[in-house]
Symmetry: C2
Subunit: 719 residues, 2 copies
């Protein structure tokens, strides 16, 4: 039993020690890592040998010879005010000339766009010209005091990931890897030939770990060689005249450059997506899936497995996308930062297995003398484990330099216990689904496509504007709920799925996560109102359903029993501000609730609204009955053990299923229970680093007291 | 010198003591107050005897006999969701049946409106009916899960001010005064006859104090007889079929009920006003001015003065309105809560004199045993005095029961000193204008009409959502600046006035005070950009120029050098967050700055933005050069002595006139200097309740050290 399901990196001249650790951790997989190449001798030393493979970079000879086939990106200059009749705009101002260069190979009058941002009108192509030498666009006869931007197509002359590593690690004159574009005719042919050749030349591995495929998420540096723009979901660097022409052919209409640069917001996933952008995503996903499938087929024909790393050049292969399953990949591996990122990997449909790369990465920033890497490892494991209990990845693994980790024996020992615990969990679950008390639908503009990926900017990085909402997703990742991500378009097309108990809508006003103008769609708003009124549960966090219209800011304000004061209704007296003494939702709260960034100026609309938390003139938590249904409002919910319990209780309350909560339940909020009825087993986990005592409720609601050591997991048979 | 310019109330059987206090305070005016009627013997006992007169209430005999001519108001029900095919809406739900009653005298199908708020469509009049008995509107064939409202015309059967006093003071079965409408034919004739009659019957006074004229500001009570809605600027209770028909005649188009109820916001002054609403205001102001002029003429023909109380039924006689001067009133009296309310009165054009009623009001809530009414009096006097120094009212006065004040000899003594100090100030100023270092234009949708009246809801009451902006106005009221209130329409029609140094735009996004969609008017935005670029100063507070468009939230973000993150541009790295060590604007700051409600998520757009204050990831104060001009951003500025100095410095800095600041200037921020060059005098005031030492700078920038006692004012000759 204590063997397998674990992948470790190896290192230069480190085979003996690698095998020693593989033995200790029960690893059956060995991978290369960060520039280091696997030695031929590795072959056969483990069941699974992974080789990293880059499809569209790392072959500068090809790239140099076919520069017109390099990847491209759309860039927008900043706004320039016209103080004279003529305006000169240095288009590369603020961009990194070693990363991108204006594309003058393709007709600039076709592919570039000068826009008067004050009137939102495109400037006639006759009225501007481009000076290649000074890299300036000169606009004639401008309207004075209007602001202008230039959108230009650029070539990407440096792969963003290599650029990042190159600059960060001071790689000096190491060549810049130039990314070539799988959509361009010669390169398209070339990548398949290269795949064949590479397989022939690399017999040592039996798994090709694609890192990744064709298009990098948007990552643009500035003139100081520092990050200027990062969007883990961005499609800007997947464009090209060839792509746009194919789009027109396929979809029957042409995109404008503006459809990509989007006023400089570049279709951030926070923007309510336009129909054009959704079409473009669909179009690229189909192209990428079709072509990646060919690569995967080649790998399979060679008798090996094909695996995708979820990141870097993953654009077009979003695993919850429409075409992903058709690719036929064997597995997906991704980095696990916590519960939500684990579920993002483990829930991926259409592959044989998923693998989570756990933290810490074996890099000198953690593995230095005097530091205890076990701390980060424990935090990472405990945070991710609660999600693992709901839906495990099939494998776990680590990355970085194994030789570094080897120097920390306590760490090596701790990871041994993690590997054993993981396998025990995996085996006990036995592929069965744990008991779920409720089914929750997270409603936003993206739905299924961005399952477990809401509110992210750069992958798993903290931003002041997102942590308040990410907490909802992180909490859900380990909760005994079924979770589905649904879009407004799903609701419009098919109504609310029958099995949903609670809809959660969380986000700032106007964002794709709150929904913005989607709430003005009569079909959508009435479908949701009807559904709640007839008994559905709704939990709104932050500015749910927010868009000013018809006398409401929260379009569901009648259901929620609250609205937000924007100043327009100050004349209406707000009498309702008495917090209830106690409430089902906050029954476990002992300290002040952490609402994160919270909200200001939310108020109760009537005496019927149950005010659960009210501070400094602001309503922060409430519930309201609406017909047979119920709608809970919460100002914000950053991730914590306490807030996880608040969200769980909010959902049971909203669903009118308070009496169903204490089933496979631990009353100590540091503990959680997962029951696998088909396996006839249940587990109780301690998510804290302290000893805990808790009552555990079984499937009939009978309780037993148990004690758990810090971070402990206890398994029991269902009697 | 120590006589005159002061009005006092008198009381029942209190003539001897009244004369004693009049002598002490140098009062030359005596007024009646709160229900108490002046005795005949009062005649001749003072130069000025004021009698309160109500034009449109207080004559229930007339009102009873002409019930169809009572005043009216438009009311909107709350939103009702249709859960069945038929919807019944109890229209009086939440309203106070003793105050308002549905008007079925006029055709309801003409004057009422049922609206589907989900589609924003008016429901066909064939599809609804009204059951008078149950006071229900029954709507047939509704769209299920849409929300509906009913807008109905109601009669006002109780004057709101009398209702408020009646309920507050438990007046029991004292009759409810019913307000009749000067626009309706019989009542219009009647009010002039009544005026004549009243003058005949009341020879004791020589000044008629109108309290006020025809229409009360909007004040609606709820079914619990408590305030439901209050808008000191609201026109809702000035409507009637007769008015709306006359409007159509005059303006050439018909208003809809929706133009008045405005989705339930009732055209709050926070709403960017619609053309229809502005037309309606204009229309009513003209009518009111014409008819009030007739009343004033009658008073004048009788050899008396006509004075207006600024409040209660003042709708249509806004003193900064277009038609006000044409009325020919002798004076205006209003309540002084601080500097801004003082200037609101003292700056009124087109009257012979203005009078400020100071606090405290002689009521038992302040004048009770054990309390020291001097505290409130001192605070009121010192706060208002700095505004008085800039532009004095011509008279001051007090209200309430004089017999109450009489029992507090220390208070009587303190007010004596206030009256003397007021007369000294008034005489020293001698009608001359003080030196102004700058001219500031406060820019919003209302401009001149609402001079010194921005961000108010109920007169001078505190609201969490307004104090952060009211501070700007209160600070300005006593600053050595010329202040003008300008509207976006002024800018559009005439550009920025030539003599303006600094434009201030302060308010929450979307409100009339920030400007909302006005910033999308190409003429307005380019005019302001050009003006700043060519050397103008701009100070933005809160969410200036905020409306999402063209890649900016702040439409002046290029000038301000800052914008607000709504989530859409999270992908763009925000590098600029280092606060400057020191800055001209904050040179006098010692403690943490109070930004009031402040702002979140404002960020600097480039390294050129001077970051003056940055806390917890949010930029709170900055400045940016834009061409030859400059734009200062401040997150919020509640009133305080410290913030007054910050605003003053911000304006000098924005105007590039830092070197002009130390002219008639006190470096101790508790002190202010006003210089009257034509009077050859200057005054230094201590705005604190502590002793202060300050350098005082004269017109050449030469400084002298002086010491001031708590609250002291010192006068000097200009040498």
């Amino acid at each position: 039993m204590n063997k397998g399901r674990v992948t470790i990196p190896t290192d230069d001249n480190f085979i003996k020690e690698t095998m020693e650790i593989a033995e200790k951790w029960g690893a059956d997989g060995i991978r290369d890592c960060d520039g280091f190449k696997l030695p031929k001798e590795i072959k056969g030393l483990a069941e699974r040998i992974y080789s990293t493979y880059f499809v569209a970079r790392g072959d500068n000879k090809w790239a140099e010879a076919n520069k017109e086939e390099l990847q491209q990106t759309y860039l927008m200059t900043k706004h320039h005010v016209a103080s004279e009749d003529k305006l000169r705009i240095k288009i590369m101002d603020g961009y990194f000339s070693e990363q991108v260069q204006p594309d003058t190979y393709h007709d600039i009058k076709t592919w570039w766009e000068v826009i008067d941002r004050t009137t939102n009108k495109v400037v006639d192509i006759e009225l501007w010209s481009y000076d290649e030498k000074s890299q300036e666009v000169i606009i004639e006869k401008v309207d004075k005091w209007h602001e202008y931007t230039v959108t230009f197509l650029a070539y990407c002359i440096w792969d963003p990931t290599q650029m990042y590593n190159h600059i960060t690690n001071n790689w000096g004159d190491k060549p810049h890897e130039m990314p070539f574009d799988a959509r361009k005719p010669k390169s398209n042919k070339y990548i398949f030939e290269a795949m064949h050749r590479w397989l022939d030349e690399h017999p040592e591995s039996n798994i090709v770990r694609f890192t990744t495929f064709f298009y990098h998420f948007t990552l643009i540096f500035n003139d100081l060689a520092k990050e200027k723009f990062v969007d883990w979901f961005g499609y800007s660097s997947s464009v090209s005249p060839e792509a746009l022409e194919a789009f027109k052919e396929e979809k029957g209409y042409a995109l404008r450059p503006e459809d990509i640069v989007d006023e400089g917001y570049y279709n951030s996933s926070f923007r309510v997506p336009s129909r054009e952008y959704l079409d473009y995503i669909d179009f690229q996903q189909r192209f990428v899936a079709e072509n990646v499938k060919k690569l995967v087929d080649i790998v399979h024909e060679d008798g090996r497995e094909a695996m995708m790393f979820l990141g870097d050049n993953w654009i077009g292969t979003e695993p919850y996308g429409k075409y992903f399953s058709s690719i036929g990949l064997d597995g997906v591996v991704g980095s696990v930062g916590g519960g939500a990122t684990l579920r993002m990997i483990s829930d991926i449909p259409g592959v044989k297995y998923t693998e989570g790369r756990f933290l810490p990465y074996f890099f000198p920033d953690t593995f230095f003398e005097g530091n205890d890497p076990c701390m980060e490892a424990k935090e990472n494991w405990i945070t991710a484990r609660r999600a693992l209990m709901r839906k495990p990845v099939d494998r776990i693994g680590y990355g970085g330099y194994l030789s570094l980790a080897y120097k920390f024996p306590k760490f090596v020992e701790y990871i041994e216990s993690v590997c054993n615990e993981f396998r025990e969990i995996y085996d006990n679950i036995g592929g069965n689904k744990p008991y779920c008390g409720l089914k929750v639908g997270v409603l936003n503009c993206w739905g299924k496509l961005r399952t477990w990926q809401t509110h992210m900017v750069a992958h798993a990085l903290w931003y002041k504007q997102i942590y308040t909402y990410l907490g909802v997703i992180e909490s859900l990742s380990g909760m005994s709920f079924d979770v589905e991500f649904i879009s407004f378009d799903d609701i419009k097309d098919n109504g609310v799925p029958n099995d949903i108990d609670v809809i959660i809508n969380a986000g700032d006003a106007g964002t794709a996560f709150s929904g913005g103008e989607k709430w003005l769609d009569t079909e959508i708003i009435t479908t949701i109102r009807e559904w709640i009124y007839n008994g559905g549960g709704f939990v709104g966090v932050g500015e749910p359903s927010a868009v000013l219209y018809g006398g409401h800011f929260f379009q569901l304000s009648e259901a929620l029993g609250v609205d937000k004061e924007l100043g327009f209704s100050l004349s209406t007296d707000k009498y309702f501000n008495s917090e209830l003494d106690k409430h089902f939702i906050t029954a476990d709260v002992t300290d002040e609730i952490d609402f994160g960034e919270g909200q200001k100026n939310v108020y109760a609309k009537s005496k019927d609204t149950e005010i659960i938390c009210y501070k400094n003139g602001d309503l922060l938590m409430s519930s309201n009955d609406y017909g047979k249904g119920r709608a809970v409002y919460i100002a914000g919910l950053p991730y914590s053990i306490e807030n996880t319990r608040i969200l769980m209780r909010s959902c049971f309350y909203a669903a009118h299923k308070e009496d169903k909560m204490k089933i496979w339940y631990a009353d100590n909020l540091n503990c959680e229970v997962s029951a696998y009825l088909e396996s006839n087993k249940y587990a109780v986990i301690n998510n804290s680093h302290e000893k805990q005592v808790t009552f555990v409720y079984d499937g009939n609601g009978n309780k037993t007291k148990i004690e758990l050591q810090p971070g402990e997991i206890k398994w029991n048979k269902i009697s």
